[in-house]
């Protein structure tokens, strides 16, 4: 079976026999009792709930798991002997040898594009892996040119700075760096989770082309099944390690597995093609019964639905501060100019547009976190309540009680070492609102985690916590930057339902997003940046973009979507 394809790549075989791994300092193994055979040239999509050890397996195959005290027997037996050291059991082999002994046989791509780039010039970065494998100089450059061509970056000069590449380009560059090593096994660990829809397709297509050309074996971990389904020929579903059950839950051709395990996969939050999680509908007219609103506004005067809270006029934005040129101060060049927008109570405003157009920068400026380069953001008296018209000039305590901002990366916003402290932080500073904490804990399913360190939570838990912490200060305007990025279907549905409730209760929600489904659940107005156009959200005939994928990676395939009526207008 192993045949040499173009480029001298010999596809690798993977064999796992009763393999298990426990990370240093943990009591439970990440993977236990894994039996798996992957034939040379096979393309495998690895699925499973978080905690099933998918990344651990990929890291082990890449030979980057570190040292272990192996041979202590299955880690589940009678408790680990010494939890300070990592512990390996069974065997995991590439072409019959341990991965660490086969340097360069496997290439790994991880999630965060910024850390997939090693060097600052394009060509050097691609050459890096080949250099480490002691490939002769002339052969390296031949490989670099070929790899760049394969991933579609050959149009850029070799000394192109890697820092100016987009996320999708960085991941393709990483793929080129892997290809230049001529590995027989390509390992992708959520390679597109941090990318916008266009970037997702860029990377997926580049991977497909390279596999067709080299015939290398592929193992990809990704919870957006629709993206990879047609590229792989086998899906393996893992389950969390336990002493008694096998690590592989289901194994087979994609269609068969998706059929068999549909219920289990959707329950685990996997984005199975054709599945849109059920979300709460906005109540008629977008406004809730008075009771709801009174309960949520917590004693403050209830706002009339549609009340203007925040307005941007002729706004020009930039993340850069004025620069010094000698003694002179030069204002930055705005990434975006002449934007007008209005934020109203109980209404959603969705900010969309191509990558790099300045959506996040605009939202941060609107939220009073960046000073406008030009134009102004002004708060209505109903929002400012005596704090002044310009949100950027508000004190931090004034800001959080009026405009709450949820950042794309939850960790950026953690300010304490415990989930409960994290939630109480805002109310404590404000001196009121602590009674709301319990409600938020309950509502966002964080009650079990009150004593956990925020940094140790899973991705979905971090997202829920970051939303809860901002809401604990009870802002009337909520600004979210790509809230659904990289989230599993369960977290997605919870978030969308929760926000629709908030909207009905009179909160204004501004979200920057690429996610069309999400936009439709929230309804409201769409501010399309880059085209200076503002429109009510409308689904085009199929609900699909050119590639058959919508923003959350769902394959909508014409199915009825809960929460939308027949014409696809957001149910409101």
């Amino acid at each position: 079976m192993p045949t040499t394809h173009d480029g001298g790549v010999r596809p690798a075989a993977v064999t796992a026999r009763g393999w298990g791994w426990r990370h240093a300092g943990r009591t439970k193994p990440a993977v236990n009792g894994l039996d798996l055979d992957i034939r040379p040239g096979e393309r495998v999509l690895l699925l499973g709930p978080s905690g099933a050890g998918k990344s651990t397996l990929l890291h082990a195959l890449a030979g980057v798991l570190g040292d272990s005290t192996s041979g202590n027997g299955p880690a589940g037996d009678g408790g680990p002997p010494d939890s300070d050291d990592a512990d390996e059991s069974g065997s995991l082999l590439i072409d019959g040898e341990p991965p660490r002994a086969r340097r360069g046989r496997a290439g790994l791509m991880q999630q965060d594009p910024e850390t997939q780039v090693v060097l600052s010039r394009l060509g050097d970065d691609v050459a890096f892996g080949a250099e480490n494998l002691s490939v002769p100089r002339d052969a390296i450059w031949a490989r670099v040119h070929e790899a760049l061509d394969d991933v579609g970056l050959a149009h850029l000069p070799l000394d192109h700075p890697t820092s100016v590449l987009s996320g999708g380009q960085k991941q393709r560059l990483a793929l080129a760096g892997i290809l230049a090593m001529r590995p027989g096994l390509i390992l992708l660990d959520e390679p597109t989770a941090n990318l916008d829809p266009a970037g997702v397709l860029e990377v997926r297509d580049a991977v497909g082309r390279c596999l067709d050309k080299t015939g290398a074996t592929l193992v990809v971990v990704e919870h957006r099944v629709a993206v990879w389904k047609d590229l792989v020929d086998r899906i393996v579903v893992l389950q969390p390690g336990s002493g008694t059950q096998p690590a592989v839950l289901i194994d087979g051709p994609p269609d068969q597995v998706l059929e068999q395990a549909r219920g289990m996969l959707t329950a685990a939050g996997v984005w199975v093609p054709g599945y849109v999680p059920a979300t709460r509908r906005r109540t008629v007219g977008g406004f809730s019964p008075a009771g709801d609103r009174a309960a949520a506004t917590n004693g403050e005067p209830a706002l009339a639905p549609g009340q203007l809270l925040l307005a941007a006029e002729g706004l020009a934005v930039s993340r850069e501060r004025p620069r010094r040129r000698g003694f002179k101060s030069v204002p930055p060049v705005p990434v975006l100019r002449d934007v007008a927008a209005q934020v109203r109570a109980g209404e959603a405003l969705t900010v969309t547009g191509p990558n790099g157009v300045g959506k996040s920068t605009f939202a941060l400026t609107l939220a009073g976190l960046l000073p406008p380069v030009n134009g102004k953001v002004s708060a209505a008296p109903e929002l400012s309540r005596g704090a002044g018209i310009d949100p950027y000039k508000w004190k931090a305590e004034q800001l959080i009680a009026r405009i709450g901002t949820v950042f794309q990366e939850p960790e950026h916003q953690f300010v304490t070492g415990r989930v409960l402290d994290e939630l109480q932080f805002g109310p404590k500073h404000l001196g009121h609102g602590e009674e709301r904490v319990d409600e938020l804990l309950e509502r966002l399913r964080l009650t079990e985690l009150v004593d956990a360190n925020p940094y140790t939570l899973s991705g979905g838990e971090k997202r829920r916590l970051s939303v809860a912490t901002v809401l604990a200060a009870h802002p009337q305007v909520l600004v979210l930057d790509e809230p659904t990025f990289g989230q599993d279907a369960n977290t997605w549905a919870e978030l969308a339902s929760f926000l629709s409730e908030l909207l009905d209760a009179g909160t204004a929600v501004v979200s920057v997003t690429h996610d069309e489904e999400f936009t439709h659940v929230l309804g409201g107005t769409e501010l399309r940046l880059g085209s200076r156009e503002r429109r009510a959200p409308e689904r085009d005939a199929s609900g699909l973009n050119a590639s058959g994928l919508n923003a959350s990676g769902l394959d909508a395939s014409g199915q009825a979507v809960p929460g939308f009526d027949a014409t696809g207008q957001a149910a409101s």
Binding site: A62, V118, A130, V144, I178, H412
Partner: protein, 267 residues
């Protein structure tokens, strides 16, 4: 941030010289200037350096934009030396405690010129040396361990990212109610918290980057180099230039009788 000193797209002749040769030349000049505190050697070196600026792709506008803090620091240093140094010769200015004499003015001028003459080669070196080329030269020519050199190079790339991250974390924390404004104590606390946040992110990024590098086979005992670090005839000229400027500065000072070794200060 990363491009603050290195000029991107710099095509000047000195960019093609080997970084080690440039280092050696700058080291020679700096050494000589550190030995004496007179104005003559410093001005000779300074004039020569200014003449060489076009070779590094710098213009005076760029120099001022990038180097103004250094220029300002040298000026302040020169000024304070002239008014605070022990007086000798004719007193030119006397305002209470501050006085400026011919002797102290000469010392101050020497200080100013020397500061500039030492700082400028460093600016010059940075603006025409690519960090990757420097790493190549250090590992291949100076035989420093490649793991250390390349690890440092990769980490330096993250520094630019960290500058962006610092700004984002600052905003993210303001959105949580942590004010970066207020009294100095509040500001200090906010800065410490923000630094911790940055540290966490830096460690995460560094860990992921380390995994990426290891997965690309980094860390083995031997490796090849896609870019060969070479010496050329240009490097001889660079070294010669360094020797000439250093030697010229000493010769001129000796000829003018201003040569003044720092450790002979008291005598």
């Amino acid at each position: 941030m990363r491009d603050a000193l290195t000029l991107s797209g710099n095509q000047a002749v000195l960019t093609r010289a080997n970084p080690l040769a440039k280092f050696a030349a700058v080291f020679l000049i700096t050494l000589v200037l550190a030995l004496s505190i007179d104005w003559m050697s410093a001005s000779v070196a300074l004039v020569c350096e200014l003449l060489l600026f076009p070779l590094a792709g710098l213009t005076f506008t760029l120099l001022w934009q990038r180097g103004w803090p250094l220029i300002l620091a040298a000026a302040v240093g020169g000024w304070s030396t002239s008014i605070l140094a022990p007086d000798s010769g004719k007193v030119l200015l006397d305002v209470g405690l501050w006085s400026m004499s011919e002797g102290s003015l000469e010392l101050g001028m020497g200080f100013l010129l020397r500061g500039l003459a030492i700082a400028l080669p460093a600016v010059l070196l940075m603006s025409c040396t690519d960090p990757t080329d420097l790493a190549d030269a250090l590992a291949q020519k100076a035989r420093l361990p490649h793991r250390f050199v390349l690890g440092t190079l990769a980490a330096m790339r993250l520094v630019g990212l960290m500058a962006e991250e610092w700004q984002t974390i600052g905003m993210a924390r303001r959105a949580r109610g942590v004010g970066s404004r207020g009294n100095p104590w509040q500001r200090l606390r906010a800065t410490l918290g923000q630094s911790f946040g940055l540290l966490v992110q830096a460690i995460r990024r560094a860990t992921r980057l380390a995994v990426t590098m290891e997965a690309r086979g980094f860390g083995g005992a031997s490796r090849t180099w896609a870019r060969e670090s070479t010496y050329s005839a240009l490097d001889i000229w660079v070294l010669l230039g360094g020797v000439l400027i250093a030697g010229g500065a000493v010769a001129a000072a000796l000829w003018a009788g201003t040569w003044h070794m720092v450790w002979l200060e008291g005598s």
